[in-house]
Symmetry: C2
Subunit: 420 residues, 2 copies
């Protein structure tokens, strides 16, 4: 018989006493974590609240955006948990951010078994694997200069500008994987200026001639294409730009032509699926071509979906680096996203025709906004699916409580400001 | 109409001349790469051969194992490509490894468009995200001491000992993700001594009491369980060990009990699927529990399969770090593997009963070995599926050419020495 079960209760006598769980205290603690999660509608449950407290235990104060990035949660969710923990007396706000309340430290030690405060994440690359160091100082300052002249974000297109360092880090990651040098490179959407980073990197690496064979940017926003074209003229690098709505298939001239594609699509499943399908139209036939994808951090179910879409399209995932990208002012998502390196397999999906469905975040989850009646103070949630469908309707009909016709716009509600 | 196509042939006049492809020379070059790939039976094709040459262009000489690790290929495949490139006059062997042959540099520049030699990978963590630095010197030397006393590898069980630094790096990665402190931790198979690294790390971080709530090692190899138990007694950390064949479901006492599982399963699809299924038996119900998986590097189709198996079991993949683990003497795979951080979703697979199929590499792809007749020099491939099924049969019948009965064993053939 194969199975040989010999359960050794414990191999080291001295330490086998049950972990000090403080019995009922721990159970009550677990219940409290679950309650906080429920009230904050945290999909990660009590374990998520425990992770939040662990971060504060290891380092504090921490700003809400820092917590959100470390946890991979949207800002509003993080703020809701913070609020509930504050109400529960476990957290206090300080000038530099949130910290454990006095007394909460021992509660956390007892309930969660926390005792230590190390961080073995690489301090040089911050766990991003690619280092943007002083070697690239000149390049980065040119990129920052161009970034400062960016057109304003168009939130309807899920735009949210990646930081200059992020654009360069992506370009360096592509370079390292051999996806730039001597290659035909396609960028699907580029309000992050990755094309400019690639162009400047090429000049820096090889002043006597560009390193890439071809560089094409496809974007729906002509303002950005003009901006990129200006940078190319100013800094003498070569790029082709094409104004094109990716709801439509790539034009014939771009199909099966590229060896590498980079994209940071709208953070909806439809956006992901559409941009990846167009990427596959652009890539040459066969296995092993590179696709670099940036996407918002997700909870386990969402992350499962992200990967499933990639696999369904025949793409293999070779690396996933959390918190690789940083964005300016992408408030809801804490300005951070993950970076995935995919490669084609021999399996390719059926070609995708024109796409007519909802695509950008506001189309998939249209924006809800709070409004307050200036007459009586009553609050309304306005937007598709809200109490009132549109603010114009509310203004026309007047406040149901006091009949007033003046309203003040409040904050956008959770989950609507996701960015590309 | 949505589509606005305005194809700008090029936005920067001066650099728009076609890339210097040297016309026919490049085409001939591409053909040569394809031929090398075919002769070496390289699944990655000509693009793979180009990647091989790019590595040598950027840094040389490089040993075959270094090339294999960087490319994520098995050693025999890498050696075959090296041999074909040598025959083609593009590569030469030097004392320190392979290098481009004289004259090949300009050929590579012309054909592949290569010009630069940077490496932006983080020099501190080597792209592994977690740093094992002098902070852990004492711990690491204790771990090395225990590693030196390891039982011999049992290749039938796909064993291949992870390096001490690898065990510690995994323990630190688990710690950072909050998967150790205050947690119930299960290791499925542990010839890599991750349990010892966790035990020593716990002592280092918190001398006054362990950081984990519970630590259980399940392995089929009682020699390793005894070895781990000895280390636990010597260094006073707590661990439970269980001799158990994972072909059988986990015993009742271990089910739905753990918050984190770590495993480095046999590198076969059956092994992966089985160990992940057992991991899910051990993990608590619900979403968000941690699973740390090490697995051999794969070509695009194999990597697609690896991810597909994870998703089919309801697991979400949050990070993939290539070349995270290093192994002592895992020759075929160049002693390197990737590290994946998975989390459970609410979706759980149907329970898996006892498993009776092939599991370890030698069962899935039984070993073929070359033998040479000492009489006439004729060579044979011996093993299941080879010219001769077993060496005993050849010795009994004698050499079909000269009748000799003495044979010398040669090298194992490709793909059979994969390790756990």
């Amino acid at each position: 018989m194969r199975v040989a079960v010999s359960y050794n209760a414990c191999t080291s006598g001295a330490f086998c006493a049950p972990y000090p769980t403080a019995g009922g205290a721990m159970e009550a603690g677990t219940r409290l974590l679950e309650e906080v999660a429920e009230r904050a509608r945290l999909r990660e449950g009590g374990a998520g609240v425990a992770a939040f407290l662990r971060l504060l235990y290891r380092r504090s104060p921490l700003r809400t955006a820092e917590l959100a990035r470390a946890l991979g949660w949207p800002i509003p969710v993080t703020a809701a948990v913070r609020g509930e923990l504050e109400r529960a007396g476990l957290l206090e706000r300080r000038p530099g951010g949130s910290a454990l309340a006095p007394g909460a430290r021992s509660w956390v030690e007892e309930t969660l078994g926390l005792r230590t405060r190390e961080d073995p994440l690489c301090p040089l690359c911050g766990g991003r694997r690619i280092v943007v160091d002083s070697r690239w100082e000149g390049l980065l300052s040119r990129l920052e200069e161009i970034h400062r002249r960016n057109p304003a974000v168009d939130r309807a297109l899920d735009q949210s500008h990646g930081m200059p360092e992020t654009a360069l880090r992506r370009a360096l990651a592509m370079y390292r994987e051999g996806a730039l040098e001597g290659k035909e490179v396609l960028l699907l959407g580029d309000d992050d200026l990755v094309s400019v980073a690639i162009g400047l990197l090429s000049k820096e690496l090889s002043p006597q001639g560009q390193v890439y064979r071809g560089l094409v940017v496809v974007d729906i926003d002509e303002r950005f294409l003009a901006h990129i074209g200006d940078a190319a003229r100013e800094f003498s690098f070569s790029v082709e730009t094409l104004a094109h709505d990716l709801r439509q298939p790539l034009p014939e001239a771009l199909r099966s032509r590229f060896e590498a594609v980079e994209t940071d699509p709208p953070y909806t499943e439809a956006g992901l699926r559409l941009f990846l399908a167009r990427a596959l139209e652009g890539l040459k036939a066969g296995a092993g071509w590179d696709l670099f994808l940036s996407f918002a951090p997700r909870d386990p179910a969402g992350q499962h979906t992200l990967l499933r879409v990639c696999l369904e399209l025949g793409l293999a995932v070779f690396s996933i680096t959390p918190d690789f990208n940083r964005y300016a002012g992408a408030a809801t998502l804490a300005g951070s996203s993950q970076f995935l390196h995919l490669r084609t397999t021999e399996a390719r999906p059926e070609p995708l025709g024109p796409y007519e469905g909802p695509l950008y975040t506001r189309e998939v989850r249209p924006a809800l906004r709070r409004y307050r009646c200036l007459g009586c103070g009553r609050r309304f949630v306005v937007g598709p699916g809200g109490e009132i469908t549109a603010i114009e309707a509310l203004k026309g009909a007047g406040c149901p409580s006091c009949g007033g016709h003046r309203f003040r716009a409040g904050r956008l509600l959770e989950g609507v400001e996701e960015h590309a």
